[in-house]
């Protein structure tokens, strides 16, 4: 069965059919990056800069911000988009805390297409896993392709 024509538009780089995996992108946030992200967002919560305070709250050390993990997912998506589209929706849920120095692999798979407000949006299932392939975060994005 052939793929419906609308699904082909903009998907040439992933074979033109769904589902389609996007190129994964791996990050290793440093203490300095976590610090800079707290500064840029004016988030002064002590679990993001003090190992001692984070351990006192049951963590194994400084915690990578939920927001920074979301930006890693966004970077993976915008790298694939290459300026030929925009992220219209992005949601993610952290299921396991990450620490500076952890390897975070961001993965995405285009699974379907929906039409909303006359825009065609490609739905992308998202996962962030660590070096042992344990799930750290999962979510969904909606991408509008030019």
């Amino acid at each position: 069965m052939s793929t419906p024509e609308p699904l082909l538009q903009g998907l040439e780089r992933v074979g033109g059919t769904l589902p389609a995996a996007l190129p994964a992108l791996t990050f290793r946030p440093t203490h300095a990056q976590v610090f800079m992200f707290s500064a840029a967002t004016w988030n002064r919560h002590h679990i993001h800069y003090s190992d001692e305070a984070a351990r006192a709250e049951g963590h194994t050390g400084v915690v990578v911000q939920r927001g920074l993990i979301g930006n890693f997912l966004a970077r993976m998506l915008t790298r694939w988009l290459e300026g030929r589209g925009e992220i219209r929706g992005l949601s993610w849920k952290v299921v396991k805390s990450a620490r500076p120095g952890d390897e975070l692999s961001c993965r995405g798979e285009l699974t379907s297409m929906v039409v909303r407000d006359q825009a065609r949006l490609y739905v992308c299932a998202l996962r962030v896993v660590d070096s042992r392939d344990l799930l750290l975060a999962e979510g969904t994005a909606e991408l509008e392709l030019d």
Partner: protein
């Protein structure tokens, strides 16, 4: 510390008061609203923080530089002095009177209407949408649901984030 009247003195007093299990019901729906002028420096610093530095400005003209998709995260928290934050330094927007102290971010849901550019004057409105008491694996926990709506100078929406935070005793 959410305060319906935006009165920091009242809010600071609330910090000192012991939490009762049902205190949070009274603060659901609390809103804070402010304006924020986005500068190119804000955008460049955010881009560097997420590990994706922007290219240098052309002809030293940095006006109108385009922000990364989730730049609006920088506008979520108010610029309160540290003395008005909870003891753990967590954002005042999350200082809801529940009998729990340990806070961690849980989930985010962004609707992104368009990117932000340097020079824009944005309106930022946060609202405590709900507080839910749940039973987790390690006991009772509270979910704080905060919505942050950002609009441009004409009132058109730029982005909306619904964030869920987890607070445990």
């Amino acid at each position: 510390m959410f305060d319906k009247d935006g009165d920091l003195a009242v809010a600071a007093e609330r910090i000192a008061q012991p939490s009762r299990p049902d205190d949070f019901v009274t603060v659901i729906g609390t809103r804070r609203k402010r304006k924020s002028l986005v500068t190119a420096r804000d955008i460049r610093r955010f881009a560097q923080a997420i590990g994706e530095p922007l290219p240098p400005p052309v002809d030293d003209d940095d006006s109108g530089v385009l922000a990364p998709p989730l730049f609006c995260q920088t506008l979520s928290y108010d610029e309160l002095p540290v003395e008005l934050l909870p003891p753990d330094g967590s954002p005042a927007e999350l200082d809801v009177p529940v009998p729990a102290k340990r806070l961690v971010g849980g989930a985010s849901e962004f609707k992104l209407h368009r990117r932000v550019r340097a020079g824009e004057l944005l309106t930022v409105e946060t609202e405590l949408k709900d507080v839910q008491k749940k039973m987790g694996k390690s006991g009772v926990l509270y979910l704080l649901i905060i919505e942050t709506r950002i609009a441009d100078a004409t009132g058109r929406p730029v982005s909306t984030e619904t964030a869920t935070y987890v607070k445990r005793p």
